[in-house]
Symmetry: C2
Amino acid sequence: MSTAAVDYARQNQQRFLSELKDLLRIPSVSTLPDHKDDVRRAADFVAAEMKRIGLEHVEVIKTEGHPLVYGDWLHAAGKPTALCYGHYDVQPPDPLDEWKSPPFDPTERNQNLYARGAVDDKGQMYMHLKALEALMKTGNGKLPLNVRLLIEGEEEVGGESIAAFVREHPDRLKSDFALVSDTEMFAPETPSLCVGLRGMCYTELEASGPMTDLHSGVYGGAAPNPFEALARIISKLKDESGKVLIPHFYDRVQKPTADELKAWDHLPLNEEHYRKTEVGSKVLTGEPGYSVLYRTWARPTLEVHGMPGGFTGHGAKTVIPARANAKVSMRLVPDQRPDEIWKLYNEFVQSIVPKGIEVKIKQWNVADPIVVSTDNKYIKASAQAMHDVFKKDTVYIRSGGSIPIVADFEKALKIPSVMMGFGLPDDNLHAPNEKFHIPNFYRGIESIIRFFQIVGGAA
Amino acid sequence: MSTAAVDYARQNQQRFLSELKDLLRIPSVSTLPDHKDDVRRAADFVAAEMKRIGLEHVEVIKTEGHPLVYGDWLHAAGKPTALCYGHYDVQPPDPLDEWKSPPFDPTERNQNLYARGAVDDKGQMYMHLKALEALMKTGNGKLPLNVRLLIEGEEEVGGESIAAFVREHPDRLKSDFALVSDTEMFAPETPSLCVGLRGMCYTELEASGPMTDLHSGVYGGAAPNPFEALARIISKLKDESGKVLIPHFYDRVQKPTADELKAWDHLPLNEEHYRKTEVGSKVLTGEPGYSVLYRTWARPTLEVHGMPGGFTGHGAKTVIPARANAKVSMRLVPDQRPDEIWKLYNEFVQSIVPKGIEVKIKQWNVADPIVVSTDNKYIKASAQAMHDVFKKDTVYIRSGGSIPIVADFEKALKIPSVMMGFGLPDDNLHAPNEKFHIPNFYRGIESIIRFFQIVGGAA
């Protein structure tokens, strides 16, 4: 396979990578208010790039939170319209001291590009732009299909603004399918299409006990301790086997189809290798009777992410803190409903609060779980495109992660999402030393070029 | 009661307070390495003051940790020798945003002096110096008894250096009794002598699960979560009633004497008032069947102070952290032994570590529990002195806190400690808005003058 657009992409690889590094240098951490201006700078960067490559109606759209970036090119009469989605915001980089090179100083090592956001999602979002650039430059300023791009800056904090925008502007976003590159491949050299995502309900428990921090010597034995209360609550939310204990939590959980389960059994996953190289713990955990893929793709779970409050410095401080928090999230699977789970969770937590303690529960974000039918021409075209580039059959997988907008595209725009992702399992998403495998950045661009050519009937 | 020394102290109250403020401005936080120089500055301040008031052999003694400050005056032939103990280090001031005035900018409000260390222990330690100054200035440069002062800078971090010094230099510290002002009065206007302290075993659990921080979507359901493990461990260390579940934990716990229990019943403690005004929680907690005083003075307990690790910022970060810690301490009562408890705790914690998790346990500090006999002439003299100043009977109380050096004085020097404290229950020790009630600062100085006069036979 070789076309003018692919040749162009190959000739410009170094420049594409260099541009991506410029974007990665912007610390657009959406959850931290201090980085608001950086998030805006990243939006401006994306908008400028859209204009440069020839997209039209480019706009940085203000929202209640961080801005959206929109651009389109709609002159391929009679051809399908793609809605390209990505996000330019990133997770916080902490713990900083575990990064081998600074998170916002993109560094190449062993064919990998290390930086916060390298693969999630700046690098993958940028592939769309570069594929469109290549098609435009080698197609006399024309594309083989119509495209709209909608890039958000709040994916890592729940994506409320884009969800509202999609619900409110279905006509402005009218498309035939969405292209989302925010997932990963099953394994190196294994082209993968993601057809399922877990949903999310991210909460924070705020426990309060004494009215002020107390001396643990003077008051220990009389004052309620909010950390102890949270420990007790957390240990009752999930049992040691990994089963969530919230009543009715599993009521709507659907089994994957027999075909899907059979296909997963054929995926090259060695659980012992996965344990050693990806997780690195003594043993794997989770519900007995389910495989790793089943547990992480199609079973819900509950995790604790951090417990702010009290004394966290070096050494000893003898305090019974007035308050302690716990960041707790649940991953959901079809057909669990985030609002229903939120309600069940609230009721159950409040029913197990130890005496003397008050718990308030905050909701940070929610996302619907999703499955996409593989019986769809865009999914098929995408599988074909990746096969052409990687010279291997494309496998259908799910992801345990959440991309809330996919459910919004389905609900508000009635379109399926093609989740072509080029991350790798060891890319350290949301963790120190996040990276993007540089050959995958290039093959991702070529796959998208090819995908658009097939969809546009130009291949 | 009026003597020249007391008159002198009354005439110089404003200056004494002003000098104390200078000392309180030095942020001598012993647990934070960044404050090492401040701790040293506080030691120098104390040494300079000892010299200024006429003490001899004044020395800032280097240790493995923060320095000791020593001074003496030993020319009262045939009279008893007092060993005055105090500490010039303080607890960390966090959470900073809950202070009404900055912790190291001493501020007077409603007859209280607000600052970190105001009552614990700079203000109380300073009373000794000012009592000695008053006696010296009004006694032709002589004191009614012999005194040694030994002031440390590591009380808030376990006091290892002073403990070693006391064990290694019993001859240099030869005295008849120790005077310790690092406790509180039972209630306002209630002169109190503390005759019992709880011991301490302060630990930090370090739980590790995955080899690196993991995305909770991708790995949730397969990777062990160290916060969940700590929650499970903590919930098994103590039951909901407040009973510690470590096997053999209570084996050596002694009941207070019937006389002591009877005396406590007569102390003016209204548990509902205590709950409302001191603790401020919905209900009090702790072992059923024991009064608040019994629980906090003579029953051991276990508390969690903070759980560092993971994501503690604003908002949502979907991480399964590689590591999570928990700061856990136990307060001990006679005859529990810290080294034995440490061993039982270690064995029990390791026996309940959830699968997939490794836990290392660090020991931050330990202290022996203590009871002092009330049948002692120095205790009696002290009770008399406070009665003379406050015009009320002195009550015998215990403290739930720990002053490790008191056990060391008993073991290495074979001397009892007179714990004359002038703090108040609402002084916010170890918490934001720590304060010292200014009239108690002045009455404390007068009580110590009077005590030294009685002991020296000058009254």
